[in-house]
Amino acid sequence: MSNAFEKIEESDNRYRSSRQHLIALATRENLIFVLYLLGFVFTPYGPSQAQIIDYSTNIKVEKNRKITERSYLIQVNNKEESWLSEVGLGYGLSEKIELLEAYVIGKDGKVARKIHKKEIVIKSHRYSGTFFGDRFIKAFSLNWSEYPYRIKYTYRITQDKFIHVADWRPSVFKGITTLKATLQVELPEYYDVVMNFPPTLSHISYQEDGKKILRWELTDYKPAKGEIFAPSDNEVEPEVTIVPHEFTYGTKGSFASWSSYGQFIEMLNAGSDDLPTEEKEKVQAMIEGVTDQREIIRILYHYLQDNTRYINVSIDIGGLKPYPASYVAQNKYGDCKALTVYMKAFLAEAGIQSFYTIINAGDNARRVNENFPSHQFNHVILAVPVGEDTVWLENTSKTAPVNYLGTFTQNRKALLVNGKQSQLINIPKLAIADVLETNIFAFQLDENGNGSVKIKKKVNGEAFELYKALGAQLQKDEQKKYILTHYPLNNWELEKWQITQLNRDEKELEITLAGTCSDQYRNIGKYQVIQPVMIEVPPFEDPANRNRPVRISLPINRTDSSTYTIPQDVFKVELPADIIINTAFGKYAARFSQEGDKIVIFKLFQLYSGDHPESAYNDLYSYIKSIEKAQKKSAILLTRLL
């Protein structure tokens, strides 16, 4: 969990560029179901020979308190690495933090300087997606002028409330080797815990003075670099997780099973269904005369979307415990938990049962470890059984169609909270048909390659989400800028565009674009060449640098058809050969034809979702490379007839 805070908002830059803005928008409808299990704040990445010489964590559980002591000894070799000397320690308002020591050790091995109290700065810990939270950062600098130097600091955090005993990883910073990492956990003799750690991590345990002592040590650990189409860093790194059998966090809970954890969540949520009378009346008025369950769900979901929005105010145990429905009724905003209990209360008022479902959201999120009941989630959705089927509701989105779980939550396990029957369930995946993107290009060109272009685009899946955000969140001029910057056409001016959704619950958008274009023929030797619109393939890394297995979380499915209408009897046209590449990972095809004054090109690109062993990467890579090659050879030759 050391990178739970990767994004620290540094400023409220209201004038950031529209692209950044859009990215932020597309990813905003978000999480926050986060528990602050580890206090470290900074996880930048830089090239480095710097080393974490010693990283030790000592966790003690006594009298229902958890005392965590972390100590770092870090070597800084040059000025480029001096960011390591900028220390930020995160903690919550309800936790006690004590800085036990912080000093610089010079080249000579002697203490060069100690931190003074007045150098320590305390500021709010701000992170994206959260409007306000009661967490802080204790920050200070341990710089020195002669390299190499070492810094050493130790701090202690005391917590009265916790649900995990340890979430420990040997890495401190991305890309920086930890020479020695130790975790020592001291527990009361009769304190039951469940542990999870990879067999490669050896540990010892013994009893001492009526205490149970557990100890892990790892040497020379080099954190792996992130890889594309692979399990994420936090899934591949070794980790020790220890959870208490029983705990108290707002209410009593247990990690004995998924069922018991579900029951805890249910207890924590108890009373959150307090929908005020006026809202109940509103619900009744809205569904009056409607008998179809799906229709009722649709009506209420639309009401939720039109009247509420995502605002996260996270205070005290608000990382887990939702604000009640009455809070959302009052403010018309809330985080994922609050909006979900509000929606749940709506449905209950309409006589429809639904289930609070906690999930680990993200495009390439770490998979849930099914055999280890623990808190592995960061988001909440709602499951509404209708007959044999389930309707899924993402309650933080103002624009998602009803029953649409997008790239953020598709294809994974989640914990459905239903008393004793709480259990892990499968969230459906976006199948290849659910991510279809089609483009129809119609170029009308004169003999110099000038003319007009019309595009009709239909998008599902990820592109649907992107264009939906574009249409819903960006101003007209920002939309234009975005399209012009991101559309794979050269020498064109966008004149008109329109984003249409048949109805708000349609999972597809149609986008029409029209503009003028010029210089669409490249002069190459005696030829003039039309380079058909490229299908962008994802960038893949060199197999030589590949270490992880292949995971394609989300399939790609794109078909393009382009028609170039050129003046008749001006050119002799030579078409490239058709091509079909069919592999276990996907399919690519291109077909070229000429009908009268029209050149028609059809292209298809598919990449299937799935998991493959590391050894499969070479084949996947050559599939992608062969597509790139094929696209490069897809030029259409025009020879001017005299």
């Binding site: 090239p47 700065v121 701000r126 710089n143 929005r309 234009k480 030797g525 060199d542």
Partner: protein, 661 residues
Amino acid sequence: MKLIFLPLLLIIFHQGYAQTSTREFGEISNEEINMTSYDKDPDASAVILFDIGESIFFDTDQGYDIRFTRTKRIKIFDQKAIDQAEISIPIYVDGFGKTEVVKSIQAYTYNLEDGKIVGKPVDESAIFEERRSENVRVKKFVFPDVKEGSIIEFKYVVETPFHFNLPDWFFQDEIPTVYSQYSVKMIPFYQYMFLLQGTSKFDFQKSEVAKEKRTWGVLTKAYGQNLGSGIEFQDYVHTYVLENLPAFKDASYISSIQDYIIKIDFQLAKFYSPSGGSRDIISTWPEMIKELLKEEKFGKYQKNCDKIARKILETQIDLTGKTETEKSELITAYVRSNFVWNGVYGKYASKSPKEFFAQKTGNAADINLFLASLYENAGLEAHPVIISTRDHGKIKTDYPFYHYFNYTIVLVNGEAPFLADGTDSYLPYNRLPPRCINETGLLVKPGTVTWMGLSNGIVSVDNKQITIWPDVENQKSTVNLSVQANEYAGYTYKANFLNDTSAIKKFYEKSLDNIIEVKTFNYDHPVKPYAFNFRGERDLEYIGDHIVISPFLNLAITENFFKEKTRSYPVDFLYAAAKSFKISVVIPKGYKIEEFPEAYKLDNQLAEIKVDYEQNGIIIQIDAKYFFKKAIYQPAEYADLKGCIDAIVKKFNEQIVLIKI
């Protein structure tokens, strides 16, 4: 730009100006709640119906503090503007017990419910305070129940003890504004200057004497005459109004929105003592310079550095027998390598020299005033220069405002005078980092007012040497690429790659496959050009029976980044830059050139562009460059500049065609 002194005695003029009742806090009209769009900008997602600010001086035990009251009403038309409902009010805390205080916040969301306008308050418990930094707190709240059609309105009061901070006023915002008004009730003891930016006149402006009488000190009145030591006075009320302001739209390649948005700034100019006499607070540049030199965190800080500086020069930097240039290099290098810039700008030092030296880190002023002291103690004449960084807006040299400045650098006035900065290691000792290049800075030297131009006019050059060996048998080309970049071009590479060969590899993977043997040179050398080279591969492209070579490898501009047809702000590229390409393509055996692209030449005041092709035996040589001659282009030059870039995109992405013999 217009400077208007607020005179103390003033002709009072009354002008009928209808204050419609709808600008009263809490009085929402049906017309407003029923608005569906703003007629002057129908695409706008929201509009500020009014934004009214007032600053007054009120009595305290110590004298006067400023009370700033702001009332703002926003109409939301659609979801795109929903984040307008998130409000942040920053307040300043000086760390020595003086602090701004938010006295009250009232905020309501108004919606139409069953035909009636219903207001819902922001609950006090939902107003949070964030600790942004040691000196800045932010009060935050979100309006409840905001949807399309809502009106949100807030009123807050901030009291400040900082007279230097008479609140400025932004008339313009990222959404359009129907009505923006700022009024300041001056007391006769302070005189401010104000500066209006972005427009030349107000839609309405009024200055009048308030009716109400106030007193300072003890008044003892007898027969209508004051016999006490106090005085009686009236406020002068100045009101400024602008109406129908368009939304401020951001543009790429501008220096800072601070330079263009419509706003009014205030600067305390003079203090009139109630007991007689007056004192200029800051009315001239010479006064400001004097003040700075006396200032604890500026002039005195620099003086206090001398002892440490002398010690360093005795023990750590050996300057004996060195030329002035060598001395300069050594001194700047010493500061750069021994101290870490903490990323904070600053015209004032943030700590004592002793603390700075012990902690090895500080803000720009800590570092550069220390640097100035080192130079001075090494026998070179050095003075601080205060500047405004690019994101902080431009300085108007006609008006001596303190708040223009946010960063301190050093002038070293030797045989070849230069400006120095010790925060950044990537540049020669006599170059400023890009963030500092913002027109002009003020030399802080007794007895003179000198403005130092900050841009050095030096052209940054990025040279690329490319060799391409097509291998027909394997259908691949082997490519050698070598890059040498000096000045800011080198700076940019250094700052982006941090000398990490894997980062270089990753960056160039969009042009080449299988990149190997990445080597870098001169990363630690501030003067020599930064260089790197590597070898890679590229698939051969065939068209018909031709081989097509893209000699520029998509490393020139491939797409025009200017999309708009016209432009209202200057284009600010920061520095003049040239990119040159020396490319050799080896013609494979059995092939000959079918066709070169045409050579191209353009040379005007804006730019120079040239591309030349030549065959030398089996080698095709391309000598090409483009050179943006100016750092800043005016809006009138935009169309031509855009045209130049079109030409570059065209000529620097052409191919060579080879054909079988």
